[in-house]
Chain length 263, copies 2
DNA sequence: GTCTATAACAAGATAGAC
DNA sequence: GTCTATCTTGTTATAGAC
């Protein structure tokens, strides 16, 4: 997250919804720094509200400044411009979604079989998406040229993926992974190589090869399927077509889990 | 497609790429009408080019007008404003994608088993998406508030869905549909009811119930999976992660086809 | 009537002086 | 922090040309 050309490491602190989701890590040293941090938080709060209510296209520096009784140009002391502000919101959305996904994954009963725990994270993703449709669009919608926050989104994205993969990792470690039925393509070395970086990233604690590449492929497919149903619902494609999106989502998640090999 | 508050029926005519994708159906009666149609086509061509090169956010009436050596206000004789122009481009994209999907579905060998013909339409969707990433974003990305063309996109959307469903319809009619393995959810009446409008739309020629609702559910899931992988690839989520998107796509399509029950 | 251009207004992003 | 100046954009009013 870039603020005034100084890179500031940020961390998600679970707080009251809509208030200072993003907070700088290091403690404020001077009074000025404390003020500065507060104002930055207020700007982000207002910007996030505008984003949630009217969408990214309607986010303007001036209207944010108006809500804060500031001159538009004053915002440039805190953000390098509209792009930087939007980039901060994008990163903010990633962090928030990742936190929700992790929370859901951790709160699932460890004693339950993996097939039962598997839907927890997908459900959290859908819940978050329905709560924050415009922010979901920032993450999984079409990237707006120039606005995509680059490096910093990689880490939260990986956290989302790991939260999703957790039941698979545990099933694999415990030897409870059902053999994926009929996956001839996945045996080909090219496909295994294509997902090698993912396997590395998703299962860092497991010995290489503990999770068959066929399962990794199926897991990536499951991720895409989950994102696909959620996006189609959130972006309005089910209108007058799928009368019960929740039921379809549950069916999708269940089928995806079985395809991966969870029982 | 709304031009100057007069509804004009339009039809996709396959032509040289980028040239007058959208053409009015009725023949021009007067010389003025002919000119008007030409200018409208030129405006759309330029706008489509700008959209393809710089994205929807960067599409501006003034730059289109500049490219055409026209005054910005002159465009208002042809489109009610920026929103109307973008709406026309959205509809244009739907029509183009639907035409490609139908072409791909029809050009597949009728003698081949359905399982082999099934990937044709998904491949066409992916090919179109890679060729027109910004236009894919207009259809399957986050909807921009106010810009979504409402009624007219329903028909091309249904054509895409029907093209995708065609192999399933034929397999069902011929009794070659493999029983979908383990679909307990799909038997529930609520899920069957949730997809009832889709079944009606996708299989108009078949007697009601010829395609089990479990298969309809799986087909919708397959649609979402295909859209999901394509979007994740086109929107840049595979960067540094999936090294061979094409291989993953093929695996996804194959798995989806098997889940639906095609052999 | 139909099209086009000129001019003008409002809103916005941004840079720089203070 | 503010204020001012400059640039771009969407949009409309108006007047003239065919």
């Amino acid at each position: 997250m870039i603020i005034n050309k100084n890179t500031v490491h940020v961390k998600y602190l679970c707080s009251r919804p809509g208030h200072n989701r993003l907070v700088a890590m290091s403690a404020p040293r001077t009074a000025r720094e404390r003020i500065r941090r507060e104002v930055t938080g207020e700007i982000l709060d207002v910007a996030r509200r505008h984003l949630a209510e009217r969408g990214a296209a309607a986010l303007s520096l001036r209207s944010v400044a108006r809500d804060l009784d500031m001159a538009p140009s004053a915002l440039y002391r805190y953000f390098d411009g509209r792009d930087a502000l939007l980039s901060a919101l994008i990163l903010d959305a990633y962090e928030s979604l990742a936190a929700d996904a992790e929370r859901a994954g951790e709160s699932a009963r460890p004693a339950a079989p993996e097939g039962e725990r598997w839907p927890a994270v997908p459900r959290a993703l859908r819940g978050w998406a329905l709560e924050h449709p415009h922010e979901w669009g920032l993450i999984f919608g079409a990237p707006v040229p120039g606005y995509q926050a680059p490096e910093a989104t990689i880490e939260p994205y990986a956290r989302i993926a790991r939260a999703l993969a957790r039941p698979v990792a545990q099933a694999a470690a415990a030897g409870r992974l059902a053999v994926a039925p009929a996956a001839p393509e996945a045996h080909r070395s090219e496909l295994a190589a294509a997902v090698a970086p993912v396997a590395e990233e998703l299962f860092p604690d497991l010995p290489s090869g503990a999770v068959p590449s066929a399962v990794v492929v199926r897991l990536v497919e499951a991720f895409a399927a989950v994102v696909g149903v959620i996006s189609l619902e959130v972006f309005g494609h089910w209108r007058n077509t799928i009368l019960d999106p929740a039921a379809l989502f549950e069916a999708t998640v269940r089928d995806a889990g079985m395809t991966v090999g969870l029982r």
